[in-house]
């Protein structure tokens, strides 16, 4: 399945992340959790069982002290533009690509929790609800009214803050016009204090991601597998760009810090 559309007809939302600006503060992670009603960690949650639609990994050049050099790489659903593996494997059609936006969406109501999509996702950007969503007493009233909490036993992932997109459509419609690229940004983009994350429509050449895609220092994660991710990273450091295309054995997600 593909979300590639002709420019001007539909949007093809994407992001650019400047790794050289990311200071690993984690504002994007908590802003995402607030926006999308992701619950705090269950007692038994850890870095494998927790839910972080966007997760900042600390990667390094593989050297020991004092030659170690690190960088922070936020990883979220890469919104594959072509042959998204999660779409193909879902037995429930719970994963669909929205042709109007190119956003790979996850429908928890359809999901039966088989987790095939988690296995298939080459970016490990999908998370399973191991526990009922629970907030400390009194914190429920701080939930975002635009997003329904998901139940135990389903998979969830980044959807570029679909609730915000819907709200933007309504606002635009109220003003008698169609939604434009500048009408909404996901919560992580809004929260990033360093401005490392930018969002826009890849079909519009003037948008930040479209410009970033042309930058010589841009790269996408695991570009060689041909999924055409719509998240473009950028770094002037050679070793960062190399890690993105060919992670060293043993320095994958499972052992990197993040």
């Amino acid at each position: 399945m593909t979300s590639e559309k002709k420019p001007g007809k539909t949007a093809r939302y994407g992001m650019t992340i400047d790794v050289d600006r990311c200071n690993g503060c984690g504002a994007c992670m908590v802003a995402c959790a607030v926006e999308n009603n992701i619950p705090p960690a269950h007692e038994g949650a850890n870095d494998r069982k927790g839910i972080t639609w966007i997760r900042v990994f600390q990667v390094d050049n593989g050297e020991d002290y004092p030659n170690r050099r690190s960088a922070f790489v936020p990883v979220l659903c890469q919104q594959c533009g072509k042959d998204a593996p999660c779409v193909a494997v879902c037995p429930q059609q719970a994963v669909e690509v929205d042709p109007a936006t190119g956003i790979v969406g996850q429908m928890p109501e359809r999901c039966l929790g088989c987790r095939y999509c988690m296995v298939a996702c080459p970016y490990h950007a999908r998370y399973f609800n191991w526990w009922d969503p629970a907030w400390p007493a009194g914190m429920e009233k701080t939930l975002n009214p635009d997003v329904a909490p998901r139940m135990r036993g389903v998979v969830e992932k980044c959807n570029f803050c679909h609730g915000r997109w819907h709200a933007a459509i309504e606002r635009a419609a109220a003003n008698g016009r169609a939604i434009e690229a500048v009408d909404y940004v996901p919560a992580c983009v809004e929260a990033c204090p360093t401005g490392a994350i930018q969002f826009g429509d890849l079909n519009r050449p003037e948008s930040a991601p479209a410009q970033a895609a042309k930058n010589g220092n841009s790269f996408r994660l695991l570009e060689k597998i041909g999924t055409e991710p719509k998240i473009y990273y950028r770094s002037k450091k050679d070793w960062v760009r190399q890690i993105a295309s060919a992670p060293k054995p043993g320095i994958g997600k499972e052992t990197s810090r993040g």
């Binding site: 949650a45 050099r69 690190s70």
Partner: protein, 621 residues
């Protein structure tokens, strides 16, 4: 054909097995999933009118401007305010999740306020002539701080204490003017000063970070100098020697520090080469204006600033935010470290606004030995409440109604109010009303009185959120000024064109560094100090538990070589021992940590353990 009971069993069994090969089970699973989405165990978000309100974050002295998205009166999301002159739209993870803080399970809901007031009054009346009644204010410069000082001026042996500060409140670092910044472990890009202001200035200066660990700041610095733990003084001295040589003032050849070490020995102590040090000194001298920052607040860093001519350029005098004339009969600000040991009989600690957590041993040595009275005003018992007789519950941001003094990187005086977004619950104690009450001072209208004093001074501008505009204060009426402040507005002082060089307080020389001993062979380095005393939203588990982005409390990181020497492995439970006590920790291994170092996360307990004593030992539990 006879149908036997056996046939019946076979038919039923076959039907059950066959059913698994049909879509029925899948359909049932799907339907149960649909049903479970709406079961009562899943909370339903409240609905209502969506409103936007503004305030200023009171969690740290940065005081970032906040835009709150509210359903009715309940904030459901907090964001920064783009275009704000101080915070430039930035908000840290702590600030983004602050609307959860009123619901923290560990929050204190009630406390013995009347009993505490009686105990304090009784203890004050029994104070001996050499014994002090002190208030330790962990965020000086607020209107509440003035109330404490005014109250203590009329209390016998009253003493107003503030934590040690490199600039003493009358000066600020001006990053916008700096071209080269040398930082001795200051977390410049990870929460130092006003994060948005630092980020806005970052394009204009070259950052040299000198610290043993590759912190977030070090990883983004233009140059990271991986120095040996505890060698910051030696590096500062070595750079000062090079600068003195350049000016022809040095002894030449082999200048020595107070310990008689020559340049070669100083370089060896830092783990850097003499060429590296000379290169840094040259850069500071050539690519000015320069600025030297120091996490440890040592005098040598400030001396470097003097040599580099930073005073008046990148370290500037800052006028005080105006206060009513009648307030100026107040107790002076006393640095905690300058108080004689064993002299405080009654200590009141305001933990409701905390800029940094001091190790308890630093405070405890100032108390009299026999039954000192300690009262803390705090949101929980996790801080100094562990050592106090009375812990009185306070409102927590965003319930508080308090002002935020200008941050250390704010070149102009500023006044902004953390206007409450939600009402505090009943039973909360207002520290300024409690302490003001000891001297019969009304404190309820202090903020308004100060706002009027600022308006009377008539200088500066008022930044409001309506279109993100600034207006000259003289064009604003007093009531409008007060209203704007309550709606998240910010007053910024006019730049004083004729300002003099700042007068900096004398800083105490650092205590003798503990040398390596057989029993404590490691150096403990605390990180994540911002999270030490501040209340944390449960959602911060995304950073501390559900990912390994930040080091979680009671975790320690060792180099694999060090871990082998200590007899511990990855994920092992261990005991961290210092001169101040011991604690159980969980070990992680990382070859990016220098050998001989144990990196620990700074909770309040860990700062009490490691804050005053950097030597440590790790043993298997």
């Amino acid at each position: 054909m006879n149908t036997t009971r056996r046939d019946l069993f076979k038919f039923v069994g076959g039907s059950v097995v066959g059913a698994f090969l049909t879509p029925v089970p899948w359909r049932l699973i799907t339907d149960s999933a649909l049903w479970s989405e709406n079961w009562p165990g899943i909370p339903r978000p409240a609905r209502g009118e969506i409103r936007t309100r503004f305030t200023n974050c009171a969690l740290c002295p940065a005081g970032c401007a906040v835009r709150a998205r509210c359903v009715g009166d309940q904030p459901v999301a907090l964001m920064g305010v783009p275009g704000h002159p101080l915070s430039h739209g930035a908000l840290c993870p702590f600030g983004l999740t602050a609307h959860h803080l009123p619901s923290l399970p560990s929050r204190l809901k009630q406390g013995p306020a009347k009993e505490a007031a009686q105990a304090v009054s009784a203890a004050i009346s029994k104070c001996g002539p050499a014994e002090q009644v002190a208030v330790l204010d962990l965020r000086p410069g607020r209107t509440a701080s003035w109330t404490y000082r005014r109250a203590l001026a009329s209390v016998k042996n009253g003493l107003y204490l503030a934590p040690p500060s490199p600039l003493g409140g009358s000066a600020a670092f001006d990053l916008q003017k700096a071209k080269t910044v040398l930082s001795f472990g200051a977390p410049l890009l990870d929460g130092w000063g006003t994060p948005g202001n630092v980020i806005a200035a970052r394009e204009n200066f070259r950052l040299i970070q000198a610290e043993p660990l590759e912190s977030c700041t070090a990883s983004l610095a233009d140059l990271w100098l991986p120095i040996r733990p505890g060698s910051e003084e030696a590096l500062a001295q070595a750079i000062a020697n090079v600068l003195a040589d350049r000016r022809g003032q040095g002894p030449g050849g082999a200048p020595a520090d107070s310990a008689g070490r020559g340049q070669g020995n100083l370089a060896a102590a830092t783990g850097l080469t003499e060429q590296q040090i000379a290169s840094v000194a040259e850069e500071l001298a050539h690519n000015g204006p320069a600025l030297v920052l120091d996490a440890g607040q040592t005098p040598s860093a400030m001396e470097l600033n003097r040599q580099l001519g930073s005073l008046g350029r990148t370290i500037v005098a800052r006028r005080e935010t105006p206060v009513p004339e009648s307030w100026k009969k107040a107790a002076p600000v006393t640095n905690l470290t300058s108080v004689p040991d064993g002299s405080i009989r009654v200590l009141l600690i305001d933990e409701s606004a905390v800029d940094g957590y001091l190790s308890w041993s630093t405070i405890a040595r100032k108390l009299v030995r026999d039954n000192p009275l300690i009262v803390t005003f705090a949101w929980s018992r996790q801080g100094y409440g562990r050592y106090a007789q009375y812990v009185l519950p306070t409102a927590v941001y965003p319930e508080v109604f308090d002002d935020i003094p200008p941050a250390i990187d704010s070149a102009s005086a500023a006044f902004r109010i953390a206007a409450p977004l939600v009402a505090p619950p009943a039973g909360m104690v207002n520290p300024s009303e409690f302490i003001g009450g000891l001297a019969g001072l009304p404190a309820a209208d202090a903020l308004r009185e100060r706002a009027d004093a600022i308006h009377k001074a008539g200088r500066g501008t008022l930044f409001t959120y309506a279109g993100a505009k600034s207006a000259a204060l003289r064009d604003v009426k007093p009531d409008d000024f007060w209203k704007a402040l309550n709606e998240g507005g910010c007053w910024l002082d006019a730049v004083d064109e004729k300002r003099d060089k700042p007068i900096l307080p004398d800083m105490a020389a650092p205590g003798a560094t503990e040398s390596s001993t057989e029993d404590l062979p490691l150096v403990a380095i605390t990180c994540e100090t911002r999270a030490a005393a501040a209340p944390l939203s449960p959602l911060m588990s995304k950073l501390y538990q559900e990912s390994n982005l930040r080091l979680s409390p009671n975790h320690a990181v060792l180099n694999p070589v060090t871990a082998r020497a200590c007899g511990v492995g990855d994920g092992a439970r261990a005991i961290l021992q210092t001169r101040c006590g011991s604690a159980q920790i969980e070990i992680s291994l990382d070859s990016g940590v220098p050998p001989g170092v144990v990196k620990v996360a700074a909770g309040a307990g860990m700062i009490d353990l490691c804050g005053a004593s950097t030597r440590a030992k790790v043993v298997a539990a």
